[in-house]
Symmetry: D3
Subunit: 319 residues, 6 copies
């Protein structure tokens, strides 16, 4: 593909605030046929344990993503040159009142997408939705994980449920769709309920880089460590917006002071361009807590960077 701009991306044709808001102003596709990377919303926050609102995340991230153009200035990548990309709309839960059924339904949606050969780039919704996605991308073989987050999300039962937004990676590992020895968690911080709240991360072999170690070694060493651990196998990227400092992302359910800057986040993601990526997500943007819109803007920017490296992975696999 050469660089002929699609109409939606041509500033001479359309102001950016125009029309139905799709992710990155990409075309909307009813079905995954022929699509290589599908941007998908999951407006679900039934798994949050404190502040809700992430159900409204996909809409507002779509809205703010209109500020994204088509070429990544830092890397020169134009994802639309590398892969066929569309907004595939939202995958939703028929029975939002029941956490487990909701995840089952979401899982079927992603199974269809993955079966159609589409690499999913998902916008949450709360972090519990990563579990059904991992079940889809990891059903053939367990995937590795680059996980950027304030929380390890490998906790145990919470109020009688194992499926809340603090546990998806534990359940995924236990189900065998995630390989914990190929997982790296970056940016972990904040207070804990018990000293061993993230014990599963350690005992299962995940590599945890708390924010203090991150500060000391710097973003380049941190992401290189994550790449080393993920290796050549199929790998998923999960970016919880609360990985960012609340100055950069106040609009989220469980903010933790002292987090990543956007400069650190952007540069880390770009380094993932040569991994064997099979999907990615950006979750936990909660618009009701985001009066200036900066959280959704940063979430949309993270998604664009993820789109670029996913497109590079698709192109790489295509050869």
């Amino acid at each position: 593909m050469d660089h002929e701009l699609p109409e939606y991306a041509d500033p001479k044709q359309r102001p950016r605030y125009l029309g139905l808001a799709t992710f990155m102003r990409a075309d909307y596709a009813e079905t995954p046929d022929g699509i290589e990377i599908g941007m998908i919303g999951v407006p679900y926050d039934g798994g949050v344990t404190n502040r809700p609102g992430a159900r409204h995340g996909p809409r507002e991230v779509r809205n703010q993503s209109s500020l994204m153009r088509t070429v990544n200035q830092a890397t020169g990548v134009c994802p639309y040159d590398l892969a066929r990309i569309a907004d595939l709309g939202d995958i939703f839960a028929e029975r939002p009142f029941a956490l487990e059924g909701a995840h089952e339904r979401i899982g079927r949606g992603f199974m269809d997408v993955v079966d159609a050969g589409v690499v999913p780039l998902t916008c949450g919704g709360d972090h519990s939705i990563t579990l059904p996605i991992l079940r889809a991308v990891g059903k053939g073989a367990p995937v590795g994980l680059v996980h950027i987050d304030a929380h390890a999300d490998t906790g145990g039962d919470y109020s009688g449920s194992r499926f809340h937004h603090g546990a998806p990676f534990r359940v995924a590992a236990e189900e065998g769709v995630l390989d914990p020895r190929r997982c790296c968690q970056i940016g972990i911080r904040g207070t804990l309920y018990t000293p061993d709240m993230w014990e599963f991360s350690h005992t299962s072999g995940m590599r945890v880089i708390p924010i203090e170690e991150f500060e000391d070694i710097g973003w380049r060493a941190a992401i290189n460590e994550a790449k080393r651990i993920a290796g050549d196998g199929p790998t998923y990227v999960s970016f919880d917006i609360d990985a960012l400092d609340p100055a950069f992302a106040p609009g989220t359910g469980t903010p933790e002071a002292g987090g990543l800057t956007m400069r650190e986040a952007l540069r880390m993601i770009r380094e993932l361009h040569d991994l064997n990526l099979v999907g990615a997500d950006m979750v936990e943007v909660s618009p009701p807590f985001d009066p200036s819109g900066v959280t959704a803007l940063n979430g949309a920017t993270i998604m664009f960077e993820l789109l670029c490296v996913l497109a590079q992975a698709v192109a790489l696999r295509r050869g």
Copy 2:
């Protein structure tokens, strides 16, 4: 009781923004013993079908209720002269992820309160919480209802659950804790999913006063009609903050344009002073959607007016 001000109500002793925020700056009581009217929060919004956040309602209503003083200027009533009143804290759900279990747990909490002889004045949370309250206050005999709301909340199944915030009064009537022929619903408006969405209200014998009829007959005729219908039997009052026009209550889950003004609401509540009231609630304040705080302020004021008429009912029954 004569009018000796408790410390919390004496402006010469304490600025209003001082200390832990309790409802109306009333004393907090660990147990219901000796209390006649208990103000209770239910920070639960698992039943909402669209915008969440009412779980944060009790805290913010407590905060804004510090603006309330002790004497009702319009009626001369000082509720603290008429009844022993306390903030009884929150009743909560152990398993917030499961709607039905949550309501069961909330119901047990209210059963304890009612069994201790306390008249509950509850702050939601979403409107689904009125169901477990009605089960407690109506367990001996079905209660009548003065219901001020934009929605009749007598819908059928929603996404596979009957316990969402659009159906409590139907379930209560079907369970026999609410007498539909002694129910009056005021302020009903907005769009519907089906023409007969509130069919149960009509077939069960409830009196529905849509906002247009309300406008035409005025607040005085409307509330007199409600009183006539409720009669002398034990009666509950449920005030959904979305009864108010969104100019007065933007911070709620399901706002409907063209609602009540606060002047209409206040004057209607005051007329209930001679009913046989057994409890009341004010629900659906959602602070994340309330940037100016006006919704919580109006919610706190509604609660104060309800407190006054509940205190009058308590004093009346005491003789």
Copy 3:
């Protein structure tokens, strides 16, 4: 058509915050073929003289319009039963920096829509966009007008341009696409630059009902007067959101204290059901000045009511 709910309107199928935001969650149509009423955004605010931002109006009104269901509870009308309705997307200006060229381009877009037999229901954008719409709907014969607004919008030159948002109805009358003797303007108020700022309204034969007269005679008399003046001929409805009091619509470019309530607005619009309506618009919602979203919510509700009476007019003409 009977009342079989389309999928987008079925609460058992989709939560309301799901998917791409279209007006009223209606289907999006690429072309006007087969559509009877087309909901259209015009994200343009090049004509404002003070506070900008109405260019972002269509997106946010689409977003808030998800709160609309399918049946008008007050009138029983389900517009989707009466007419084929779709969101036709946005009509935009290729050269946003030039006011006159922009209006020409917008005019061509509406000419295409009207030529396809579609009745346009437009969401602005600033009020200057009504001029190109009137050129389309009035090209055969001048139309009458029910105009609800704080400003008569019949001023003269402003800073060297006749095409700003304070003059569309004067230009339309002068061009012969609007019949001033069949125009009624309701809600006019606020301060003026000169005592005769709206002189054209009076000299051209428009009927002006200032807010004070409106208060004295009431909404019913006011809208009846407007209907009498519009008569049986083809008539357009233009609703400037600043007709509402700023308590109901703070998010607009030129707010004027002391305006309509939503209750008055809703009831007036419903009375238009038996006019020969050929189109309608709701303009001047400016999201950057609307922190609580109440302006966009009220704007979406106004649009739903306009949709109902347009659908009734379409059904009436169909016979």
Copy 4:
């Protein structure tokens, strides 16, 4: 004076958001010489008992007052045709930490203004500032008062001080600069600390029209009553923005639910045009609590209406 627009008021010369913000975009005057009506800010809130921020009121009211044009559409009055009007800047307290000294200093400032023959139109600041103004305008003979407010502001000591924002009218009456029998207080409502909190209003002979009486008799009867009581003598008008319902004025220190609408407020003020007015104020706008700016906008509009009737009074006295 004929109607030649000053440059600041000519829309062809200057956009409204241009330049230093003065009240109504009037000229700023360093000294009161030759001015007949002086608009003055008093950025002081040392007298508030709860929420502060009124110190920032004059700036934000000046900013929003740019939306005011020059002619009152309802009455046809152009105040600039009737009187020489200027923004005289702010009168400030040298020692803001000491309430009594502050009022003394503010009083000297107003004494200078009144001695120069200027009719003051003041923007607060909290309501305590009306006391030093009354000392200036009432030093020759006690003035009558049209007082529109949620609170009678005739309380006793508060936390050891008599000079807080809840007592100015009592102190003024006791000092003999205010004639209580020529005072009318409109819109009084809200809760009280003691049943007789406003006892002084009653015992001193003030006429109190609580909001409930106001609702029952209507704005026209209420303001006629106030005019009858004020009579022909020199009269002052004090408008506390919290007289308005919080939907119209959330940004104030002591909001009280269930207040005036702007339509009621505007029409009442216009009726004062034939009183012998010697000054007026609009107080208690607190911008930090006003995210949408609607409070400051309404405050600016109230000031414009007060300016019109003051100009009419000046013209009447000039003969």
Copy 5:
């Protein structure tokens, strides 16, 4: 003490948004008896020279502090394992209108707390409240100080008062309760009224680390310098939230661009664990200027970190 979670800290028992908001969801204690560390609010802002609102700080910090759990992930410290901790409510001023009297009253409250053997962890209010606290903790012997702030707060008279929020440390040193040679001030920046505005800091022997030096040497060197200067003697920690960059703390009375990040702040505080700490405060959070709540969240997090090092100091002294 072993790690048996108190009920309030057990996520399986209570959602975090439940109940009356106390600092860190700790128990509330009526009296200091048996408490080792008391968290105390001082809702007072009579000393601010510009933007008010810090009087509302304790309530909102309590509210946001519900996000804190019980174990410090970075250090492994659970303060509740090390010391008996309670929320002791607010210490308030009887006469808020008089700055000096207010401080005297606040001082008596802290004297009682300190006399009862409690280490105070205070939440302001404005910075002037640190003076009465220092009088209590330093009455036996002058204390050292780790002072993190944008302003040295050692100015001279301001508008005729020495007790405003810009001078507490000068007065404390002059009164002999603070040893200036054991003081270190970190983060000082912003504009000045006179070149020697903080002259007292220098002449009295305090060590001032302006933000530029801080940037050049890094957080580790800065806090080590502060520890060297404070030495082994009893030391107090005062953290003004305006030490943070306004991106992290917009909601404060005197923001200064270019400040600390939360990562720097958190890591510095943790290093204080082996000082002989006798108290600490976090001041100047002003909720009306904090629409996203990020300032209160960061303030609560700072308080939790201070709680951890105070608990370590208490345990260390206990031996």
Copy 6:
């Protein structure tokens, strides 16, 4: 000049929130006579391609600039000691609807200012206004440029106009008022429409330092490079507030994630003190998108730092 404080800068005379808001509370001057540095607002945003509102920038920056005092603590410079400084009010466009005419009019205003010997320090408005300023300061000889921005602003035609806010530096270079080989652009980042969107920067010889290079080399090396390139010739400084990360400047028309911190910005500007500066601007603050005011505060602080180095340049040239 010695350090005798002007009245406006003396904290003992005036609280900071007092009076008409001028830039830095400096005196307002009707004419440029005798002024050496003139602070000027250009409330114009007709050139924005996406989010508007910068027209309201000068007012809000003036308002927030009241927080600035008179002495730069970091450098010891008091600009008022070095140069005669005034707020010269706003330069405005007579015909705001026509982009080109607007710039012509703005250009004439600046020509007058520069001809009077005044060094302009301008507050935008959108970035298109820098073009007419450069025409004035560069009319004798092309100027060099230190340009701190997220965007190179050297694009080509946009929607048929060359004069939008994305192209001023290209037009200026082509017109010969800007010497591209003496231009350095710092902080460039974000997505592009085409890979060669900023091609003109490169082909014309400008030095571009993208944010990634900036991060790697640090602020000191970056600004030293800019100074080397600007050299001894007359040089202009243009600071687009979107150079800052959106955490520091959410209120702008085209935010780009991952930008400068304020610490980096402040330190870079201070290094410019020995350049031959002939003017500076700070542009693109859009208050409607700035709920916390942090953008305007940072913009005002940037302006103060620019004022200091401009004053140093004036003093240096004076000798």
